[in-house]
Symmetry: C2
Subunit: 271 residues, 2 copies
């Protein structure tokens, strides 16, 4: 079974990392659309165009199941992707919210994500389906802080404090009593420890990456299968940078990254 | 005279703003490649491909002179652009450094810019031509902080303090005595006041946007010409966002932004 994992950049490697732990017997093909990242502040039309070309590429590489590890693409382009390929497609938002629905007792949930994800209200919509009420908050500085490597850094702590205080205030105004916080961006698990230290002990922090890996492994009945699968990596920009920054997200060294030009792919002039 | 102004996004509007003040009689056509921004952390090949398609588009729109208002594109793609179009092309790096060469007495200069600009060492190379020694420092968090609107904000002040302290230490280790600081990214002029308050009074802060506008107006003998020119705006992503965020950089409201798809342009299938 070959599983395609797609993200605009490196964050989706946290999903692949969780998948490699949960289902090490499968084969994986990862694509980071690094030449066009970030998707987080772009329009639905642009994100859908980029995500569809990326999904098609992964299917061309033999993927029989697609994991959209990018929250923004899951929020803005899941239907467009499902309409463009014939293999099953799973997005991080439905799995993250599904996990929240399983643990929340107050049925009130907080979500932190990129601007585009929050503006789409995809998390709120998915929460409604599960009978949850949601408060969403855009945290646009967290991705650049993680990419700067400022994980355990006073500036990041201060930015988190500001965002989480604003989120709490939003919940108070809306009259919600949230007991669950969904990390709605694949960069955020790198700040999980800092975030957990800053929210009350009663608040459960949910990492969509882990939730997605569990769901994929369960759906495909890959749990418990042993064996050593393979992982291929593709990026649309510098493979050198992909190796350097990607390793931080995957938790191990990446080698053998291949460069792909999806703009050429789009018109069929494949290199 | 129709002048094309190109940037990956909104920052170049600070150059257009300065041009509209210095040379209000000219006509302007601005392109923000917002669907593929930011360029600041991407490879030379990718930046050159994007910048060349953008420059060609501006020439198709009638531009007789191109101002590359994007520091990253000026650093990585100026030769590629000059090879691809027949009109004169001016980049912000040569004008910023030219201005520094005119004011620096110690002949030692500091430059703050994006990661890609710093890694290209384009500023250091341009400084060498003018007999200046340069210390360059990547400040990747400043663009997202400006875009978050955190201009007069304690977090931004702390980030600036960290970056400027590291820069000063770099200069000390290199044995330099800089009296000039070049703002090597068109987002940074929005933080000029904060930066000026943080560096010694003896350090002159140079805004490439202003320097470029002066040079363009001088070169084209547009200075002192009166009259009311026109300004057209194109963006490759959401025109709504371009209007909203762009106004902050241009200093006035923007209307009549047109959407353009440069990926289609590239293969000739123009909409």
């Amino acid at each position: 079974m070959k599983i395609g994992v797609f993200d605009s950049g490196f964050g989706g490697l946290t999903v692949l990392r969780a998948l490699l732990e949960k289902a090490p017997a499968a084969d994986y093909v990862y694509l980071g659309d690094t030449a066009r990242l970030p998707y987080g502040a772009k329009s639905r039309e642009t994100v859908a165009r980029y995500a569809v070309s990326s999904a098609k590429f992964l299917v061309e590489q033999g993927a029989e199941f697609l994991t959209i590890a990018c929250n923004t693409a899951s929020a803005l382009a899941l239907d467009a992707i499902r309409g463009a390929v014939t293999v099953p497609v799973l997005g991080v938002i439905e799995t993250g919210v599904g996990c929240a629905a399983g643990v929340s007792e107050t049925r009130d949930v907080m979500v932190v994500a990129t601007s585009a994800t929050v503006e789409s209200h995809a998390y709120a919509a998915a929460c409604t389906v599960h009978g949850l009420r949601a408060i969403e908050k855009a945290c646009p500085l967290l991705v650049p802080l993680v990419e700067e490597g400022w994980i355990e850094h006073p500036v990041t702590a201060e930015v988190l404090r500001i965002y989480l205080t604003e989120l709490k205030e939003q919940a108070r105004i809306a009259g919600l009593d949230p007991d669950t916080l969904v990390l709605g961006c694949t960069h955020y698990p790198l700040l999980r420890k800092q975030i957990e230290e800053m929210v009350p002990r009663t608040v459960r922090v949910i990492d969509s990456a882990e939730a997605t890996a569990e769901r994929v492994a369960g759906t495909l009945e890959l749990e418990g299968m042993t064996g050593k699968g393979t992982a291929q990596f593709f990026a649309t920009d510098s493979v050198k940078k992909f190796r350097a920054l990607g390793g931080r997200f995957l938790g191990r060294e990446i080698d053998g990254v291949e460069l792909v030009d999806l703009e050429k792919e789009r018109t069929g002039n494949r290199k």
